[in-house]
């Protein structure tokens, strides 16, 4: 048997717009796949096709070996899906809604209660079970959405921006929940938060303009950044020659790059080929040579930078 999820040359056109343009990838059990891309890249559209909501204009998506269009029911049974924005029935209570989901997922009698209780425990919904969903805060609504997605302990979990709009505590909780479930499952989540990818995902896919541009691990992605572990040295113009020479002496002249200058300040960006941590070396040298420093920063651009670099050109057209 192939991978749990097999997506081949998937395409979706809305009239003249090509939202997804030939995306292919496989995902195996145990993987947490982060789905990145600028707004309108086609992330949600890909997920909607993968979960059987939208029929593809071309290509195939298979879940557990079941084609999502020709063998939809079998595929859908394997999937738990949190659609973008977590749509829910506003008039229902979480209790009624989750019981409905449990029944439609095939549980009966006492099992329904047991599944609902279990999932309510996991996402901490006890306090709001009898309140109409429309009166819940955004965070609780998102948790109800998450609860319905994981209720049947699905083998494939597809989450479209699961932490969007949550406060930092709730983000943390949701991430913990996802991490606790990753074993033996396929989890695909889309997000605009790059730390989330670093914290959660074993693999990253970036799509832009409907096309897949990167498919690698978060570490590999970060390593693509020239900023990785680079140090930015801010000094007055008068110092630039002396400090520049000294840095070139330490790391080689290729390692030092002069960035755009503003007014009387000069910024030098120092990075090593192997991208090792060099802050302490530089600060020691600065002390011993008594540089007039205006600032010394380790660059944290990393994933953001790579993301921007990879997706900007496609967004422009």
């Amino acid at each position: 048997m192939g991978a749990m999820i097999e997506i081949q040359n998937l395409q979706k056109r809305f009239g003249d717009i090509t939202a997804v343009d030939g995306v292919s990838f496989d995902v195996d059990r145990g993987e947490v796949l982060g789905f990145l891309g600028p707004n309108g890249a086609g992330k949600s559209t890909t997920m909607k096709m993968l979960t059987g909501f939208l029929p593809p204009s071309g290509g195939t998506a298979r879940v557990g070996g079941h084609d999502i269009t020709s063998d939809a029911l079998a595929a859908k049974r394997l999937i738990g899906y949190l659609p973008e924005g977590a749509p829910l029935y506003p008039d229902m209570t979480p209790e009624g809604f989750l019981a409905f989901i449990a029944e439609i997922r095939g549980y009966r009698g006492a099992e329904v209660r047991a599944r609902v209780d279990d999932v309510v425990q996991k996402v901490q919904l006890q306090k709001v079970m009898r309140q109409p969903i429309e009166t819940l805060s955004k965070g609780f609504k998102r948790r109800v959405g998450l609860a319905q997605a994981i209720l049947h302990d699905p083998q494939v979990l597809v989450l479209d921006e699961p932490t969007d709009g949550l406060d930092p505590n709730q983000k943390h909780e949701v991430r913990g929940l996802i991490r606790s479930m990753q074993k033996d499952k396929v989890i695909i989540l889309s997000t605009h938060i790059l730390e989330e990818v670093e914290a959660l995902c074993s693999r990253v896919i970036i799509i832009a303009g409907g096309k897949l541009v990167v498919d690698c691990t978060p570490a590999q992605l970060a390593a693509k950044s020239k900023w990785h572990n680079a140090v930015r040295v801010e000094i007055p113009k008068t110092e630039s020659a002396r400090v520049g020479a000294s840095l070139a002496d330490m790391f080689g002249s290729a390692a030092v790059e002069q960035l755009a200058t503003e007014d009387d300040d000069v910024s030098l960006l120092v990075s090593t080929k192997e991208r090792r941590s060099i802050l302490s070396e530089i600060s020691q040298r600065a002390q011993s040579e008594k540089w007039k420093l205006d600032g010394l920063h380790v660059e944290h651009g990393k994933l953001d930078e790579v993301f921007r670099e990879l997706t900007r050109p496609t967004v422009a057209n």
């Binding site: 809305f14 909607k48 979960t51 059987g52 909501f53 939208l54 939809a72 029911l73 859908k76 049974r77 999937i79 899906y81 659609p83 924005g85 749509p87 829910l88 029935y89 506003p90 008039d91 229902m92 009624g96 409905f100 989901i101 029944e103 439609i104 997922r105 095939g106 319905q148």
Partner: protein, 246 residues
């Protein structure tokens, strides 16, 4: 089948989760009463029957009341985005279409059944043919199903419930008017063909409801309403398949 029942249960309890259902039932009963007693001259009739006074107004009553039920069926689902949730559950499109329709139809049946005090009244006042009354109730409910299937299909076209309501009223009127006695003369003078007039009239709720409500159960009338429901539900499924992404 089980999935259909689960979906149906959710839909049906949904009606009673908000006051809307109770308001609807009250208005329905109120209008039934007003039409029967004032316009239908229930007392002057002198006959102990629900026939002309009560059932005669149902085709017109349903023109506005049934679209009020059907307008939200799909429009709301699409507006809220819950259709995405629904259609990624392990259920089929026919199951969804049928369960929504069936729940609405049962709800309409409940409203209709709650007019039973009128039935008791005629039995108290006289000695009506209860067989005819039962037949009329069934006919009325079947006709409500026709209006509902039509309204459900229209509700799938738009995300806006008001538009769904207005369109359903207009299309329902198109199915009502050709059968009205008032337009019979007009039809004959414009179509110049007896067969054409018959064809046009045969598409009207009025034509098929009239006979059954008088206690004459003709298989053709039952088949008319049943196939009307079937055709509109089939179209409903197609419309959903085409429009769900918008």
């Amino acid at each position: 089948m089980r999935s259909t029942l689960v979906l149906l249960k959710r839909e049906l309890t949904g009606y009673f989760a908000t006051p809307v259902a109770y308001v609807f039932i009250c208005i329905f009963l109120l209008l039934c009463g007003i039409l029967t007693f004032y316009l239908g001259s229930f007392y002057e009739n002198g006959q102990a029957t629900l026939g002309p006074a009560f059932f005669e107004f149902h085709p017109i009553l349903y023109i506005v009341l049934i679209p009020a039920i059907s307008m939200r069926l799909w429009a709301e689902e699409r507006k809220q985005g819950t259709i995405e949730l629904l259609m990624t559950l392990p259920v089929t499109l026919p199951q969804l279409v049928i369960s929504k329709f069936a729940a609405a139809w049962i709800f309409a049946g409940i409203a209709l059944a709650l007019t039973f005090p009128l039935w008791l009244t005629v039995n108290y006042l006289g000695d009506p043919d209860n067989g005819v009354i039962v037949a009329s109730y069934i006919a009325s409910w079947l006709m409500a199903g026709g209006y509902l299937a039509l309204g459900a299909c229209i509700s799938a076209i738009t995300k806006n419930q008001v538009i769904a309501f207005v369109l359903a009223v207009i299309v329902s009127l198109c199915f009502l008017i050709p059968g009205l006695p008032q337009v019979a003369g007009f039809l004959e003078s414009t179509l110049h063909s007896e067969t054409l007039v018959e064809v046009v009239r045969s598409f009207s709720f009025m034509t098929h409801f009239g006979a059954i409500s008088r206690g004459v159960i003709d298989l053709r009338d039952l088949i008319f309403f049943a196939s009307l429901i079937g055709v509109f539900l089939f179209m409903n499924a197609i419309v959903i398949e085409l429009k769900k992404a918008d």
